[in-house]
Symmetry: C2
Subunit: 410 residues, 2 copies
Amino acid sequence: MAMITQIPGGVCAAKGFRASGIHCGIRKNRTKRDVALIVSDLPAAAAAVYTQNLVKGAPIAVTRRHIADGYARAIICNSGNANTCNANGEEVAEEMCRMTAETLGLDAADIIVASTGVIGQPLNLEPIQSGLPALAAGLGYGEENGTFAAEAIMTTDTQRKEIAVEFTLGGKTCRMGGIAKGSGMIHPNMATMLVFVTTDAAISPELLQKALSADVTDSFNMVSVDGDTSTNDMLSILANGMAGNAPVTCADSEDFATFRKALATVTHDLCRRIAADGEGATKLLTCTASGAKDKACARTVAKSIICSSLLKAAMFGADANWGRVLCAIGYSGADVDVTRVDVDFRSAAGTVSVCRGGAGIPFSEEIAKTVLSEKEIEILVGLNAGEAEATAWGCDLTYDYVKINGDYRT
Amino acid sequence: MAMITQIPGGVCAAKGFRASGIHCGIRKNRTKRDVALIVSDLPAAAAAVYTQNLVKGAPIAVTRRHIADGYARAIICNSGNANTCNANGEEVAEEMCRMTAETLGLDAADIIVASTGVIGQPLNLEPIQSGLPALAAGLGYGEENGTFAAEAIMTTDTQRKEIAVEFTLGGKTCRMGGIAKGSGMIHPNMATMLVFVTTDAAISPELLQKALSADVTDSFNMVSVDGDTSTNDMLSILANGMAGNAPVTCADSEDFATFRKALATVTHDLCRRIAADGEGATKLLTCTASGAKDKACARTVAKSIICSSLLKAAMFGADANWGRVLCAIGYSGADVDVTRVDVDFRSAAGTVSVCRGGAGIPFSEEIAKTVLSEKEIEILVGLNAGEAEATAWGCDLTYDYVKINGDYRT
């Protein structure tokens, strides 16, 4: 079995990737970095998945065109304004690529562009235009350069989200790193919030896209903070081949399996981080539905539970209100025999079994309170109908979620 | 066009219906009535729609059996315990009917039974058993008797919900009245929370069911407080024929149309009340999607908007964050041309137009704040693709929703 080892760093962990992140002035807060730049030293195979929301941010249309040939060189991303629902959005996103390409001496058609923030306010490019020389000057291979990029894409996130791993393909050491931003409007559908992954592995654009598309089904599509699928979700990956491995070109190869495993390690870690840092969240909720008749059923059940406002509020209050778990299973649409459902809550403080065969069993409220007072809660659902299993990630619903979203624009 | 006139009262407005509601002791708070009883003087045609949640409260299975013959005489309903996910739930619900029938001198198979409250805790019938004599003694035809029943079915509701109307069928004056309880776990799917409607109109059980099933599509199925479809939703209606009209037996008749209109007047009013009194709500949100290519599209769009946690939080904060309206349209699944969407916010304080053709237009933030600071907000969406229209009702997402649901069971 291939070893995937976690290492320090983020998007600069892989060979030949430089990054930068500075405050250009899209946001008023001058201490907040608001534009990120990631550049590969060599042309990189590129793949992406996007939001399924019919309302799509203008950068998505532009990025889709720019990676249609399977390759890209750089990623430019601003926070503070989503460049969505603006009459001139695509022109602005194209111009953002043109400026970036000019500064870097690249072709505009090799730039991936992303924006995140408020919807429906024209994006003024002047701050980016005037900030680009400093942004380019700040490019570097260091771990801290990746961190600056990770910070620049944050919106209401309270924690930056980075991870890197090391693995071996054909005897060559490869690295992969990623950054992500949450933290509201999180309910991905065949895509996610913003996630950028870089790797020095050599892999064909076709297999890169295949790996990415397959990965999201069990990673970002299993995360929900608030049930709202963003207009600007994008997960993109650049693979520049600088690790020197023989390019991965066969879907049946062991190397492709290793690559997918490395990718899953990166994406699952970022999923946990996004959920744990959901707007207003005090707790990470991980729901695993096991014993399902098939994988789709397991996913539907786990996701429905993680999305229940009532359960999320109960978890905030450390209240073992397992009836809400049963309720969410019941309305999930999954074909489940509800009289066979078992439910346990588990955390670092222990496990409490609350439901067997669809009915309540006696448990200590005191122990339940202790279990549910931890920062990470597992909701374990046994469907007793088969062998399939799926995990979904979410967070509790808190006063701060309401506060943050009651007046987001000001 | 048939006239439907609102009159005072609730379930006792129609001829031959008595009601009662007292504190039996299911709930600890001795000032809270917790069991309601509604009795028809004559056998009544009966119809009901139920939750589509796979996890169903035990009373639903029992009620379904009891009205399978199209008739019933009485409704017994407790609050404080949902009798759901209990191993002996159906036995308990049957026993609740048996006790009630014995006290009233009726057949247990003519009793509709409902329970609402916490899921998964055994329902102790002793308080009901000992309270039944007083409950039956309290039965009366007066407006206040209906009010006691309306109060007894409340859980986290802060307002009781009653309405009554008068209309004419075949020259005879008929009356219809209803009561409802919200106010959390509200996201009906072919059914609703708990609603009981009584009428003295004469109508066949078949047409009564037909009217009810058709009505919910545009009434209770268009309400959402929190996206959680309850396990115990039930809307039931009793029609005892004591108005003396020639029985409505033909679906193509003018009388059936009048009956449906009266029913819609009652149900739409209760929908507004349920949404306005959603858990923690400070504002009633009414979203009307017009210009849709068909009714299903209009319903999907209006319901998606009303369900968005982000929009609900923005409305709490009186923040005209219309991008969230576009976002919710985009992920609704409805086939919509998002570049043609118009959005206005309207209230007693005026109207503010914020989006035309899918893009933002300049508006005064000051006026928008004034418009959105009212207690009732209309979100008007023009799809510019046809003639169909639908309305959905919801409420804002507030600190109090989190507070109420963070520790519901204690």
